[in-house]
Amino acid sequence: MTLVHIYKATILGCACAVVAAGAPSVSAQDAVNPRINSTLTGCVSRERVNGHYILTQFDATNKDAAKSAIEAATEAAGVPGFTSGASSTSTSYELKNYDMTAYAGRRVEVTGVLTSPPPNPMAEAGAAIPGASAIPGAVATAGTIGGGTPIRQMSVLQVKPRTGSCP
């Protein structure tokens, strides 16, 4: 085998590797592994905001910080229990298609289908939730999916009361 043959074989080998690295076509339909039901645990707002109760999840590792931020936000807003994204320690979800009245202000576990409205550039100005611009702290970090992202929504299928207090 001459050097020329070695070069050819090697280059051919590399070309094959490059082709393989091109990877098989991956399509959305080939990669689908849907999760229908998601479960969230958190506190339900005491009142509706734009017709829906809000569930807020707190970061368990920083509950105090979350609480103080929530208190500041709700006091300033005058909306008891509404705690949308005042800090990165909480995440909020608009609860739809289920009468949550009996759970207002309480800690619950909700199961349902999560949906994500289109990101709203106005969210950065505090309007992620329609009408929420009047609420200081109700900014894009709520239900975060990246900067300028609106609160996420859940179509609720099941609710279970959970022990624990809510701010």
Partner: protein, 307 residues
């Protein structure tokens, strides 16, 4: 000295090749070569590049080429070559039918070269953020700024490309929240994006508002455009173009399945009960049963999300 340099060169090539192979395996893609791309011509100036994600429409104009969708990013180079084989003119415009990764994979490559990228405004919003999408069971990754649409629309519009005036129409909350189909009147061709799937069940991105019922309704809108001779490029399958009759048959099946799923939802059934009842059984052979479970989860999720 020369001999040694050659040896080093060969070693480097071999090492490079091995590295590529290893990294490929590390990503779980070893052992399968990429699917070859096909590019059948379905009208005088319209071809369909397939095999790299969603079907890509290629329109040849006087001064270049327009692409409708761009396949997956890992095949963007192959797509560029296939499009070049159709016509060596420069790509002037890329139209995104929706935001899914198997349709916007050429955005960054073309955007960096100054190509106009046109899409519905929600496509741009979705492509600007990374977010978790339970319906798709994955994170949907944001694109680099260069890959973002440069022109957006809300409802639809017209666009001149070469000798063609193309008409595009947004169908709200169908497969996603930013779908659009596009009609090429001079060729009598419609590219539906993922509003239509032939030969397999559709994907329904209910996280962003998609539903099977709305996809069927969107096909009604497609049906009102063109005439009985219109050739249709689906988002997946049917890459040689299908007829309106094919599209209507698919729509009827979707509506029937949706009705059955609505009945399950009314009875409060969980998805596992729905899957166990096999509501698509009589269609699986015709449509393809490979993805029936995933399809049922998405179709049912779309119903539950809207209740």
């Amino acid at each position: 000295m020369l001999q040694r340099d050659r040896r080093e060169f060969v070693k480097a090539l071999v090492a490079g090749g091995a590295g590529l192979t290893l990294s490929t395996r590390a990503f779980g893609q070893g052992g399968r070569g990429p699917a070859p791309l096909a590019a059948p011509k379905i009208a005088d100036r319209v071809s369909v590049v397939s095999g790299a994600g969603g079907n890509i429409g290629v329109i040849v104009g006087r001064d270049g080429v327009m692409m409708i969708d761009g396949g997956t990013a890992n095949r963007a180079g192959d797509v560029a070559k296939a499009v070049n084989d159709v016509n060596p003119g420069m790509v002037q415009v890329l139209f995104n039918t929706h935001y899914h990764f198997d349709h916007v994979g050429s955005n960054e490559r073309l955007g960096m070269n100054g190509v106009r990228i046109v899409a519905h405004e929600n496509v741009k919003k979705r492509l600007g953020v990374t977010f978790d999408d339970p319906a798709m069971g994955r994170k949907m990754e944001a694109l680099l700024p260069a890959g973002q649409p440069t022109e957006t629309f809300a409802d639809g519009g017209r666009m001149t490309f070469g000798q063609d005036t193309l008409e595009y129409t947004h169908t709200p909350l169908a497969h996603t929240d930013g779908d659009a189909f596009i009609f090429i009147p001079t060729s009598n061709v419609i590219h539906t994006g993922d509003l239509l799937w032939i030969g397999r069940y559709p994907v329904i991105d209910y996280t962003v508002g998609g539903s099977l019922a709305s996809m069927a309704a969107a096909l009604d809108r497609v049906d009102r455009i063109g005439d009985a001779g219109t050739r249709i490029i689906p988002g997946h399958g049917g890459q040689a173009g299908v007829t309106k009759a094919d599209m209507r048959r698919t729509r009827e099946i979707w509506l029937e399945i949706n009705k059955r799923l609505e009945d399950h939802a009314k009875q409060g059934h969980a998805i596992d009960q729905v899957i166990a009842a096999a509501p698509t059984k009589d269609f699986d052979e015709r449509i393809g049963s490979g993805m029936a479970d995933a399809f049922l989860r998405q179709a049912y999720g779309g119903i539950l999300a809207r209740r």
